[in-house]
């Protein structure tokens, strides 16, 4: 008993130390974003800001045309649209496909699945130039729609993989009952499989949102104006332009990180339950 007690104390201590170490860099960025510039460049560094300095956030939220703020806000709006569009399309398309992989018997099933997964091995760089020319011919360069289309090709193999692994774990008997009741395959999918696949669906939603929000290379090459430029491109431009003003980059970075961080924290329990299935059968 005494041993167990000591172990438990050790575990909690380790968790506190590790947790602090993990969050420290992010906390530094938060502090930098609300510290006056004079604090940030002082030596020795002033860790706790002398005053709460919110000018950078104010500039980002209210800055007029041609300011850092307006560029950031349009990039934020673009990213919201591109990410939600990509997630919506990827989820619908992958749910249908994953059902086929998990439940139906057809020729070349394994091969088709492998080909989808193999696309993950392709470096984006290998597709950039022809994609650029194709998008330009279709007048989709520097548009959000163009970005959604290319992002979907990155996200769908992932969602397909997560979802088909999860669908496999749902007992087939549940569905057979629905089929006997005359539901049809599609009825069974929407009335039986989807409701019992919630952890898998949430995991897939979270992964696809994070992937789409994080996408950088396509956005870097295929967007050029505020009409479609996304946050990752905007932040990398800030970081290149305002090298001396780390506070501003930090403020922008935190706002850009907020949506995925909130979503990941809310859905974190589905990472394991959604992936536990994935680990069983690759």
């Amino acid at each position: 008993m005494r041993n167990g007690r000591r172990n438990s104390v050790l575990i909690h201590l380790a968790a506190i130390v590790v947790g602090l170490a993990i969050i420290a860099p992010f906390a530094l960025m938060v502090i930098a974003s609300i510290s006056p510039q004079s604090n940030l460049i002082s030596r020795p560094l002033q860790w706790i800001p002398s005053t709460l300095y919110l000018d950078r956030y104010q500039e980002i939220f209210t800055g007029g045309a041609n300011s850092v703020g307006s560029a950031f806000r349009s990039a934020f709006a673009n990213t919201v649209i591109v990410a939600s569009g990509t997630v919506a399309i990827s989820m619908v398309v992958a749910i249908l496909g994953a059902y086929a992989f998990a439940r139906l018997r057809f020729r070349f099933r394994g091969t088709v699945l492998m080909i989808f997964l193999a696309t993950y091995m392709l470096p984006q760089i290998a597709l950039l130039i022809p994609l650029y020319l194709a998008l330009s011919a279709l007048q989709l360069l520097d548009t959000k729609l163009g970005l959604i289309i290319v992002d979907c090709s990155l996200v769908i193999p992932f969602t397909l993989w997560i979802l088909s692994n999860y669908f496999v774990t749902i007992p087939e008997e549940l569905e057979e009952a629905a089929l006997i009741d005359g539901c049809g395959r599609m009825g069974a999918l929407f009335r039986v499989v989807l409701p019992s696949a919630k952890p898998g669906i949430f995991a897939a939603l979270m992964f696809s949102f994070l992937l789409a929000w994080d996408e950088f290379m396509y956005a870097l090459i295929f967007t050029s104006s505020d009409a479609s430029k996304t946050l990752t491109v905007a932040i990398s431009e800030f970081a290149g332009r305002y090298t001396t003003d780390f506070g501003l980059v930090a403020a922008g970075g935190i706002l850009a990180a907020l949506p995925p961080v909130i979503i990941a924290v809310i859905f974190q329990r589905y990472i394991v339950s959604g992936m536990a299935a994935g680990a069983v059968k690759g």
Partner: protein, 316 residues
């Protein structure tokens, strides 16, 4: 139950041959329609560029609008393989891959064990652990670039105030040091995902195994070696394959932190390809390089899967 056996439902165990064939056929048709949208969305985007890039890799193309593009056969591949820049960036990629994957696995395993341990406020700990993974790569890169800054970076401040250094250092100023700093940034962001992946494997280990081992008076090191590690092999191997592929494609974090510098010290193979194709406008060689990356990834994945299969840990 009895109602089911009485109704004339086709016997699942032994369906008549004709009926079975028709069911298979039906499945094929339904599967085709269900998979069509995904196939169009994925292959509609990538098939043309893959073939086009393969084609370009056989020609000398010096600009997007080049008119005079002579056929050079495997010349682009030969000149890519002959350039010292290629081998140097390959070496850096290998170093990046081995170091970051090893660190992420070791730290991830420890973190997974901690995530799995009984504790109060476990949800809070898990929420903290998930944060780095959710931070976008470009934000992560900008963050670490600020932390390692030579003039005002917090890393310098910590080391100086602890008395470990006597003046500020340019952590991103030396080629090899900056490659290691990029690895630090990558490890910070990726270890949580690796840990959650291993945690998924850990939770699937039956509790009885630990209890049996405890009855046999096995200590922790022994339990780890005989139970945890063997049963985690599938999860670990997936992590290794995925991380290797990622490392060979790594681009954003390098673009965000160092742009491949200083003195090309952080130029990995994907970044080298990007520079060759876009900065040097050498599309032919750039295309050949991207196919070389694909080949290396294919070879490595095949070797991994072969080894896995031989060790009886096959997944596919």
């Amino acid at each position: 139950m009895s109602t089911v056996t009485n109704t004339p439902v086709p016997d699942v165990a032994a369906p008549p041959v004709g009926k079975r064939r028709r069911r298979l056929e039906n499945h094929g048709k339904l599967a085709f329609w269900l998979l069509l949208p995904a196939a169009v969305a994925v292959f509609g985007v990538i098939v043309y560029p893959i073939l086009r890039t393969l084609l370009i890799s056989f020609f000398q193309v010096d600009s997007v609008l080049a008119v005079d593009t002579p056929f050079v056969g495997l010349g682009n591949y030969a000149s890519a393989l002959a350039s010292p820049g290629f081998w140097a960036s390959m070496g850096r990629t290998l170093y990046f891959t081995l170091t970051s994957t090893a660190l992420e696995l070791v730290l991830g395993l420890g973190l997974a064990a901690l995530l799995n341990a009984p504790m109060k406020f476990r949800w809070l700990f898990r929420a903290v652990v998930v944060v780095p993974w959710a931070v976008p790569t470009i934000v992560n890169a900008a963050m670490w670039k600020g932390i390692f800054n030579a003039e005002y970076g917090a890393f310098n401040a910590v080391l100086l105030q602890l008395g470990l250094i006597d003046h500020y250092q340019a952590w991103l100023g030396d080629p090899f040091t900056s490659l290691n700093m990029v690895i630090v940034a990558d490890v910070w962001k990726t270890t949580p995902l690796v840990a959650f992946f291993l945690l998924a494997g850990l939770t699937s280990i039956p509790k009885e195994l630990y209890e049996a081992a405890r009855l046999d008076r096995a200590g922790w090191p022994r339990m780890f070696r005989s139970i945890v590690l063997p049963l985690l092999v599938p999860s670990i191997s997936i992590v290794v394959v995925l991380r290797t592929v990622e490392a060979f494609k790594v681009f954003d974090i390098i673009y965000g932190m160092t742009r491949g510098g200083p003195a090309n010290g952080t130029q990995t193979i994907a970044y080298y390809t990007y520079v060759t194709a876009f900065s040097d406008q050498n599309y032919g060689v750039g295309s050949a390089l991207s196919y070389l990356i694909v080949m290396v990834i294919l070879i490595l994945s095949t070797i991994y899967l072969r080894v896995l299969r031989r060790s009886g840990m096959s997944l596919v």
